[in-house]
Symmetry: C2
DNA sequence: CGTTGAGTTGACCATCGTCAACAGGAGTGG
DNA sequence: CCACTCCTGTTGACGATGGTCAACTCAACG
């Protein structure tokens, strides 16, 4: 499980050619999804002056659990996996960050999980101390951060129900449906759900093995509930999947 | 699983004779553990004027998932179980609230889970709108709420690792160790861990069945890792339990 | 002294994990 | 261009962990 070597992306972020020059925060396509939606034009401009764009190649690390959280991240494009490891190497993915998600919500001095890029990822980064000071002058931004954290907590509780009380088939169906809903906010509704993460990532998110994930997807495909396409699935029998994914 | 009838406590909170008359917030024994520690004497007094003490008998309901969150709660004594149900009755307990814990951290307009009293529980209650308005005038209190929520999120992620990637024996050991640590903050350190919740509650928290919890505890007791006492366990072989509970 | 409900224990079994083999695509070098 | 490796994903055979079902103990309570 997880034997791959991973390049460290954070120390040498790719120059990410057009990350800043191309557009400002005002034109940012995830602004309304992200914490930034709490800011007016002037505040946005202030925040922009504090931001450092950075992008990460697939399979590079943004940060590691327990390391000092010098930097917080706003994900503007791509998918990031967030995970914790047990000493013997077992891994639990605690979430996937999509465009608009914020890493470092807690503003604690250390990261509570590790994060690495699944796809090519672009981010706005902020030195944590600077960002924290900025937040202290903007109570409505703190409110927004708190709403985001509360939403994360609710998702975490959903995931507890899934991990503790659902069968493999229900887990896979729930995962697909909730990922579909999250993509809908970013890219618009679609019955085709992109799965940029590998089967091992899905397994480590659902508390299953890669074989069980593979078998379950195959079976759902054989029974015409979905169609496996390159890097994703197309949902066919929505009522059935909905039924499996309830609550 | 969970077939017991439950009285509704919230509509008819017991008078709770000495809840307010006995002591004010200044003398509250969980003040320093709770969100109230963020307040100075004057603010505490303000908040006190907004609070309504209430207590709940064992097995009564504080509130139900998805119902409008008219009230938020500060638990001052006792243990509350927080849970979500699947339509078919499967239950996942997402946490146990101990003295000092706050229910309604998210300040969302509906509760994300149901809550009922395990022991006799005493609380300070606040109308949510009133509390929310109070928070809006006290950014440092919002900070504290946010820290509490962030801590909850971190605990939720611990629980995801536990549910997704640990064996029954590891789950039980982790549960006991982390409960011991939480009690330590409230009642002081001890190798005797009170377990006021029943086996079914523990099972529904750990993603196991009551039989597996019972068997696992019995085995750990037979192997002298712990001693089962009325309403709790005494931890004997701490190194071994620590090893099972790592990370 | 019977009833009830929680907890324990045993026998059996199913779901999912383990181990192994195989398929197919991407990249590499002769 | 082809052979080769590497990696991811799929599939099958088998087994173990933990679930299911049932019986039993015991304390609390009337």
């Amino acid at each position: 499980m997880m034997s791959c070597e991973q390049a460290r992306g954070a120390d040498t972020p790719s120059p990410c050619p057009h990350a800043r020059s191309r557009e400002g925060c005002v034109d940012c396509k995830v602004r309304l999804l992200s914490i930034c939606a709490a800011l007016d034009a002037g505040e946005l401009c202030e925040l922009e002056s504090l931001s450092h764009p950075a992008c990460f190649e697939p399979r590079t690390t943004l940060f590691l659990q327990d390391e000092p959280a010098e930097i917080v991240y706003n994900v503007t494009d791509g998918v990031v996996r967030l995970y914790r490891l047990l000493p013997d190497g077992r891994r639990q993915i605690v979430g996937f960050a999509l465009p608009g998600d914020f890493l470092g919500l807690s503003m604690a001095d250390r990261f509570g999980f590790s994060a690495d890029a699944v796809t090519r990822v672009t981010t706005c980064r902020f030195p944590r101390e600077v960002f924290s000071a900025f937040v202290d002058t903007k109570p409505h931004l703190l409110r927004r951060l708190h709403e985001f954290a509360s939403h994360e907590l609710s998702l975490a509780q959903d995931q507890m129900v899934l991990l503790g009380r659902r069968t493999a088939e229900e887990k896979v169906a729930s995962f697909l449906m909730s990922l579909r809903d999250r993509w809908a906010r970013v890219t618009g509704a679609s019955v085709t759900v992109p799965l940029p993460m590998g089967r091992q990532d899905i397994a480590d998110f659902l508390g299953l093995t890669i074989e069980t994930v593979s078998r379950t997807l195959t079976r759902l495909a054989r029974e015409r509930a979905l169609l496996i396409v390159p890097d994703g699935v197309r949902l066919l029998d929505l009522p059935r999947l909905e039924r499996l994914a309830v609550a």
